[in-house]
């Protein structure tokens, strides 16, 4: 189960500073991932923390499904929302199993149900069941992050909040865990809000990306559209000079290929491969056309259409 999260004209002001979040209206569709991205101080963390009411808005309302969250009992609301923070925030005095069991225990589940759930979650995040009894400090960063995700998913919450969840991981582990998160999401279909300052991460993970600047929503679109048409110089700068390379690495071959038959000796490429992979294959083989597996072809001319869409 997942629930839609909707911000309606939400403002958060802290005394003596310009608004941290300024008249934000934003809908996060049920079962989708929203990446909130922007430089530090742009209000992305404040925005996220208003969803589980660690921060209360100054004005406006946030809806979880149809219910305004300001009317929901605080503890109940928070137990419906999984929460993952940077450096994971696992409790060092609790074993992996105890960490995962926190919210189910708060909700009064019985021991058998909790035990079964722990096994299920460890399998979901790809950790062996023997890890139940281990303590966080004996795990690697990536393993801790997996436990953090398992803990947040423990009571099957409709919404998951992740605050710079992969910031402390090395680049290789980060990409692997990002892929794992997407694989998990394809199974659990939660509404996920991820705060990050890393545009690459936002593009990889987000079904939509919301770019914030000084508390204002600058652009809120699927990653491909943000890459094709950054709304202004600020967004373009966040994306970086390799914007079009990123676009090629985001789009699949299927999005621009043609149904024409490929020349007989053309090298093959998968439909779901990225255009970046296809382009590199062309450079590598010195051919201007590739045969797409399952029929059809990709010509170098087709790549020129990618940035227009």
């Amino acid at each position: 189960m997942a629930l839609q999260v909707e911000f309606r004209d939400v403002t958060k002001e802290f005394p003596g500073t310009p608004p941290a979040v300024d008249r934000l209206s934003l809908t996060i569709e049920a079962g989708s991932i929203l990446a909130l991205v922007g430089p530090s101080g742009c209000g992305k963390t404040t925005t996220m923390k208003m969803i589980n009411r660690l921060i209360e808005p100054s004005s406006g309302e946030i809806y979880l499904g149809d219910a305004p969250i300001s009317h929901m009992p605080l503890k109940e609301l928070r137990r419906m929302i999984g929460y993952v923070i940077q450096y994971v925030g696992l409790f060092p005095h609790m074993s992996v199993a105890e960490n995962i069991a926190i919210v189910p225990k708060l909700l009064g589940w019985n021991k058998a149900r909790i035990d079964a759930r722990i096994d299920e979650l460890l399998a979901l995040v790809g950790l062996p069941p023997e890890h139940r009894a281990r303590y966080p400090r004996s795990l690697s960063g990536g393993q801790q992050q997996r436990v953090g995700v398992a803990r947040a998913l423990a009571a099957d919450p409709p919404v998951l909040l992740m605050d710079e969840p992969f910031g402390a991981l090395d680049p290789i582990t980060r990409v692997r865990i990002q892929d794992e998160l997407l694989a998990i999401q394809s199974k659990v279909r939660k509404t996920i809000v991820i705060v990050t300052h890393d545009m690459d991460e936002a593009i990889r993970l987000g079904d939509k990306v919301a770019v914030l600047r000084a508390g204002r929503l600058v652009q809120h679109e699927p990653p491909v559209d943000i890459l094709r048409h950054p709304k202004d110089a600020f967004v373009a700068e966040l994306i970086g000079h390799d914007r079009l390379v990123k676009l090629l690495s985001t789009l699949p071959v299927a999005s621009v290929m043609s149904e024409d038959a490929a020349p007989g000796e053309a090298p093959a490429v998968g439909r779901e491969a990225t255009l970046e992979t296809a382009f590199l294959r062309m450079l590598d083989t010195g051919r201007d056309a590739l045969a797409v597996e399952g029929g059809g072809s990709l010509h170098i001319r087709d790549l020129l259409r990618a940035s227009i869409g």
């Binding site: 923070i85 005095h93 281990r134 303590y135 400090r137 004996s138």
Partner: protein
């Protein structure tokens, strides 16, 4: 009489007095823990309480121990009860201070996660904050026990017994055998308690770093 002969004839008495000395010390620290731990928690939860409690226990701690026993006489008379009260008062500082410090130094991220997961204040206290502060609280307890074992020696002055009886009698009749028979057990118990509690403290913090058995 040589020290050896003295000990050979009196060892049963010395052992009995040492045992009583240890019991007095542990009773006092037990009570100090029972009172100090809640006071430390209260100080953590409320600024006003913190100012009041922390200053009060600090002021008590600055009173010289001998004077503290003396002050007990007009208030509670002499005997075991005023002696224990004096030691409890003195032991409050390490217990309260370390409980407060232990709770105050918890990683704010962990506290926020606990709140964000929907833990109530008491659940958070018992399931997260106190367990995380435990090593620091334990260190305070260790200081309190070692202090108390030394301090109970003076309890003899208000007729509460203990190894002080041997020491002070030894001084008044100039029997160094008695003085030694009184002091060495104090020293041994203090060092022993320090060693054992330190060991327990290390096991406590280590248990969180390695795989559970």
């Amino acid at each position: 009489m040589s020290l050896y002969d003295f000990l050979a004839t009196r060892w049963e008495d010395i052992l009995a007095v040492s045992w009583w000395h240890l019991r007095l010390s542990l009773m006092a620290v037990g009570l100090a823990l029972g009172i100090g731990l809640p006071l430390g928690v209260l100080s953590h939860m409320n600024r006003l309480a913190a100012a009041l409690v922390l200053n009060t226990v600090s002021i008590i701690y600055t009173v010289p121990t001998l004077a503290l026993f003396g002050l007990m006489i007009p208030l509670l008379g002499i005997g075991v009860i005023p002696a224990i009260v004096a030691v409890v008062l003195y032991s409050l500082l390490p217990v309260v201070q370390n409980t407060y410090t232990g709770l105050a130094n918890i990683d704010p991220n962990l506290r926020e996660v606990a709140v964000g997961m929907g833990m109530g204040r008491l659940t958070r206290l018992f399931r997260v904050e106190l367990p995380l502060a435990l090593p620091v609280i334990f260190a305070g307890l260790r200081v309190a026990v070692v202090n108390a074992i030394g301090m109970v020696t003076l309890a003899s002055l208000i007729a509460a017994g203990g190894l002080g009886d041997l020491i002070f009698r030894g001084i008044s009749i100039m029997s160094w055998n008695l003085v030694i028979a009184g002091s060495v057990p104090v020293l041994v118990m203090a060092l022993g308690a320090d060693f054992l509690l330190k060991l327990a403290e290390q096991r406590l913090s280590r248990s969180r770093e390695v795989a559970a058995p």
